[in-house]
């Protein structure tokens, strides 16, 4: 249990998926302009991450049993692509309000390296099913935290006078650097909480 909490805290704070592991930078820079889109995108990412983890776990077991580990990357990316497509269809058909909220982000997620990244990490670290799910949840929540925080920062930034040559993407990256720096303050929190 302790280990599971540690996994969650690690994904959320000390090893934030976006700010310290650099997964999913594209949506982090692209979709964080407004708070509501940031929340929508990250909610979609969390859902897909959890589903992808649940779906790839037995598939990975199957691959390993048949000595087909080398097919992992190919199979995982196809599973994620198919999954995203299926979620989209199901949501559209049966849960229209949810689809309206999350639908537009779904197609973007297939090529979001955070999802494939978390699935590959779970395999690499040889987590069992529960650990893998918790790790994915932590990663997804970490993604959301980074997105939401950064959306706030960018809102403030809109009112700032930025030197011409830094306007646009460069200043966004510098701001991301500061947000990432602030997360360094959490280092040691796992030890401090006595989770290791």
């Amino acid at each position: 249990m302790k280990y599971l909490i540690a996994l969650l805290v690690m994904g959320l704070l000390t090893n934030n998926f976006v700010l310290s592991k650099f997964y999913g930078i594209c949506p982090f820079l692209g979709v964080s302009k407004k708070l509501n889109t940031a929340v929508g995108m990250s909610a979609a990412v969390i859902v897909v991450m959890l589903m992808a983890t649940a779906a790839t776990y037995p598939i990975n077991k199957m691959l390993i049993n048949n000595n087909l580990e080398y097919l992992q990357t190919v199979v995982f990316i196809l599973v994620i692509a198919a999954l995203v497509q299926m979620v989209e269809i199901v949501l559209k058909r049966f849960m229209k309000p949810l689809y309206n909220a999350l639908g537009i982000y779904l197609p973007l997620i297939t090529t979001n390296c955070a999802v494939l990244g978390v699935v590959l990490l779970n395999v690499q670290e040889e987590y069992n099913f529960i650990q893998a799910m918790v790790n994915s949840l932590g990663a997804g929540l970490g993604f959301m935290l980074a997105m939401v925080l950064f959306a706030g920062v960018r809102k403030k930034m809109e009112d700032c006078e930025v030197p011409e040559f830094l306007k646009g993407l460069p200043i966004t990256l510098v701001a991301a650097s500061l947000v990432s720096l602030s997360f360094l303050g959490f280092s040691g929190i796992i030890e401090g909480m006595g989770l290791i």
């Binding site: 299926m86 494939l116 993407l169 460069p170």
Partner: protein, 282 residues
């Protein structure tokens, strides 16, 4: 499309004018993640270049055979196969690089540069041109990574090309007399640098990337070129579906900056196909 194309131009455009990292802003994740040392940057760049050239050739050769409807899953399978092959070769022949790059080696699959080039170039051009385009883009990607890596390694670790033997192992043991890069903070070299650790931390990655981007913009502005912006969507094969949804009155979202190429019409079609495509893949 077919006007005034020359092999030389296709090659050089990827280096500077359309540098995938600094101008098109593609493949940002590996750019930030693996550039803590120049050695890693070179390793990542070369691996991605090999995948890019191979997948461009394969996709361009098959472009008349692959039906439009299933082209994205087909591309993904082709790219993922090449990535896995490269990964196995790296594991077997440059094992240290495999550990250094970690999950970012298999993640080349979702590097937008590769799928982006497949969709934007290889699917419409001949094999030779696609190969040259892939090579140019790959070298441009590698150059940008090395630039980032150089800044971060020298400032952040006080070394340059540290651990280069891990890569040179490909050419035999003890190439260059076992030289393993410069070390500026061991007190032995003429220059003595106290490293600023911040630069190899994630925060330093964002910072250096921002500054390099600003420089690239400045140079581009001097030549009357527009600023680099997050083009992610314009080159993203999924762009179609989300732009279309946006136009259909969905919430204000991201892909807004994807439409400036005036390719909306085309994107729309892609979107329609996209929604139907993966059914066949399942």
């Amino acid at each position: 499309m077919a006007e005034k194309k020359s092999l030389g131009k296709e090659f050089t455009k990827g280096l500077i004018k359309e540098n995938p990292v600094l101008r098109l802003v593609l493949g940002t994740c590996p750019t930030l993640a693996v550039t803590t040392s120049v050695t890693n940057a070179i390793g990542m760049g070369v691996a991605a270049t090999i995948v890019l050239v191979c997948s461009n050739i394969a996709i361009s050769a098959l472009r008349k055979i692959i039906p439009d409807k299933v082209r994205i899953p087909a591309y993904i399978v082709i790219i993922a196969s090449f990535v896995t092959i490269v990964q196995m070769l790296v594991k077997a022949f440059v094992p240290a690089l495999n550990t250094a790059l970690g999950a970012f080696l298999p993640l080349i699959v979702v590097n937008c540069i590769i799928l982006g080039r497949a969709e934007a170039f290889a699917s419409k051009n001949t094999v030779l041109y696609s190969a040259v385009d892939g090579l140019g883009m790959g070298i441009g990607f590698t150059t940008a990574l090395c630039l980032m890596g150089t800044c971060r390694e020298i400032l952040g670790a006080g070394t340059f090309l540290n651990g280069i033997q891990d890569l040179l192992v490909l050419f035999g043991d003890n190439v260059l007399g076992g030289w393993n890069g410069f070390d500026f903070n061991n007190g032995l070299s003429a220059v003595n640098l106290q490293p600023i650790t911040l630069f190899i931390l994630p925060a330093g990655g964002f910072f250096v990337f921002g500054i390099l981007m600003a420089l690239a913009n400045k140079i581009a502005a001097g030549r009357g070129k527009p600023k680099a912006e997050l083009h992610g969507c314009a080159h993203c094969p999924m762009a179609g579906s989300c732009t279309k949804l946006l136009e259909n009155g969905e919430k204000n979202g991201k892909c807004g900056n994807g439409d400036k190429d005036g390719k909306n019409g085309e994107n729309d079609k892609i979107g329609e196909r996209n929604t139907e495509k993966e059914g066949a893949a399942v």
